[in-house]
Amino acid sequence: MKLFSAFLLAFALLAGSAQAAPLDTFAGLQGTLDIAGGTAHIPVMKSAAQAIMSAHPALRITITGGGSGVGVQKVGEGLAHIGNTGRPLKEGEMSKYGLKSFPFAIDGVAIAVNPANSVQALSKAQLLAIFAGDITNWKEVGGANAPINLYSREDGSGTREVFEEKALTKGAKTSPKANVVNSNGAMKTAIAQDVNAIGYVGIGHLDAKIKGIVLDGMTPSQQNAADGSYTVTRKLYMNTKGEPTGLTKAFIEYIYSPEGTAFVKKAGYIPLAK
């Protein structure tokens, strides 16, 4: 056991000396950091945690999902140090728990259809009518004569919120007949299979299997979202109870560091400066 810890220490020192500066802030820190909440955040958090724990094996960082609501509840009740949300905190949540938000990334939300769909672009009005259930056939918007299959996200989803607010208009309703899926992955799977589908996903999830729709002339791409020419975007937040200290603070700093932003980019999001 002694040998084992000595080995670990040596490994840590080696790795530590090889690493760049941002990881040094963790030197001397100890304990566990629990992160909970939105699933969209997990890739970023996981990469960061791996880098940190490789350099400082004494630290233990755990990451779990549960959704934005659970993230808020967990951090608010002290069950986690960082609660992630894919939406801004609500008034009630902020005041009830005394939370502090750290937006660290922008996630563009793209309207997506099946690649076999001939429709390339839609106007806001068309989109509104489609999602309200008024337009029910693709030929009405210049496509093939086929019914439109609506796919939406669950209530409370950050992606849905930003889609309804920015791609549609504030207060717009999604038809209750729309199919509801509860993750980007599920949305992608559904649209990739269904020729007549329309839905929305995080821009990072666009690939050859699903096609982004040009909305009012705005092409969904990471670049456009970063420079502001694509406006259907949301922020991803880390939330802490009160001002972060110690390990929590160091972790949040790390996410904003150059290494952290690299992880954000790798996960398909646009990093946001503090």
Binding site: P43, V180, G185, G204, H205
Partner: protein
Amino acid sequence: MPAQHTEQVRGHTAAPAPCSLPKPRTLSARTARAGWLLRLAVFAALSAIALLFIMVVLFALPLFTGTAEGSSGVFSWQWLPASGQFGILPMLCATLLLAFSAMLLAMPLAFGICAHFYLGQKGSQPSLFTRLLRATVNGMTAIPTVVYGFTALFLLTPLVRAGLGGTGLCWLSAMLVLALLALPTMVLVMEASLRPRMHALRPTAPALGFSPVQILLFLGLPAAREGILSAAVLGFGRAAGDTLLPLMLSGNAPQLAFDFSASLRTLSAHMALVTANEAGSTAYNSLFAAGALLLLVNAGISLMARALSQRASANPLHAQPKSNALPHDILCCMGHWGSTCLCRLTCLLSWLAPLVVLGALGALLIFLCLNSVDALNWGLLFGSTPPLQALLGLRPVWDGIWPACLGTGCLVLCSMALAMLPGIGCGIYLAEYATAGQRRWIGCAAEMLAGTPSIVMGLFGFLVILFLRRTLLPEANTCLLLAAACLALLVLPVLIIATREALEACPHSLRMASAALGFSRQQALRHVLLPAASRGIASGMVLAIGRAAEDTAVIMLTGVVANAGLPAGLLAKFEALPFFIYYTAAEYQTDMELARGFGAALLLLAVALVLLLLASFMRRRYSIRR
């Protein structure tokens, strides 16, 4: 003896009973008190169930009684949270429709498979096909719902879409897969109840000229009525309580569905969908209303099934057929033509059902293998860490699912350790000691629990921790122990019902023989009845292990994490395979990631199978020793 004495005794028989006689005593072996361990087990199980129910009801009550201003209550037909309409009645209808249709579909399949076990074999040794079928059914219990869901998403929904039109995410897809999901539970419970009865009939019935299919249909089946009802209720509960499959396959539109191609949202899926909302908001709290409604639905079904079975066996004297007496048959109610048809149909079903099920599972397995072939290497397990060092725990594993495998193993062991005593103890109590009233309401509670969605258990654990933090243990946090306890609650009804069924199916002569030899009730139980029932109880354990290994919703709120390394103790957080799969399914970006998810699913199947083999090995050791 003198003749006079004869007269004396005769005189006594003729005379009315003297009034000096003591009052008649009603004697029943059931009045015997159970040992403290058993009583403790029952107490533990019941208090856990009661706590869960009370919590759900407490949280749901405000939603049922009063509603916030300007919003419609949960008992309405519109779900539009943005406009303050929180009606969950469409979800209730969807749950009933989906669960009932899935159960109706699974019932003949389950019966067909059971029938195959009796009709399909030639000679005393079961054929290879039968053995394969049996192993498959046992293995099916451990197939994670997330695996079913994903495979169906890629295999079944395109077919349904082509056949029915629409999106393919609809009632029919969800129903087909839910039937498959509920099937092993139903087969195992049905078989546990049929087996001893068929065994008891073995020498008698063939001698009367009954064919095997006639024995099964007209003698075995009526005798195993209770078990079959239990199977149906459990199957319904499993279908109604499952969260992931409806979530992935039924489309989730909060509307009323009138045809098979329509999208619908069940209560359980609804519960999973609203957790993203602000905790404490009406939308979030409708989760509790949904949970309470599901409890009510399950209670209703369970009570109804009980009432039905009691009507069927109105005469208590004949409620339990004697070992050799033929139970009353329904043959006479049916004409010759009808019974012949029924027999033919059963024979057909006994081959059709196994083939359909094996075909579906074969397709699933082939699909999984094909899709995960790219990811199946050491890297899937250990990431970039050298395997040997990872196995020895010398170096932490990143990007590999080895820690998750170990985590799942620990989780299953812990939850079984926790559930075993209350589950089996409660089953024993129900079968051996409980009064008729206790049987009814404890049985009903167990069946209600069986239909409670796993997400409710997870939420329960979460709220328990919140409560503990505010009162006794400010440092309490979600952990392996909590997750195992919640999983134990999840598998409790399976253990209770399987144990009860297995014990009640023991032939009566066994009880009489043990009693006549002077065995106390405990001794008879331990040395005669439990060994005789061990196979049925083992089936229940197999079911429970599979269920504990595959569940995602429970552990998600109670301590599983995406990143924790090897399990570090009971009070630490842990990784688990089902969560890895779920998380991959939700957030995959590249095909490689998806393939890794499928690889993990395949591995989860393997882990579950290993646990099953372990269980069967232990059972075999036990039966050899006796």
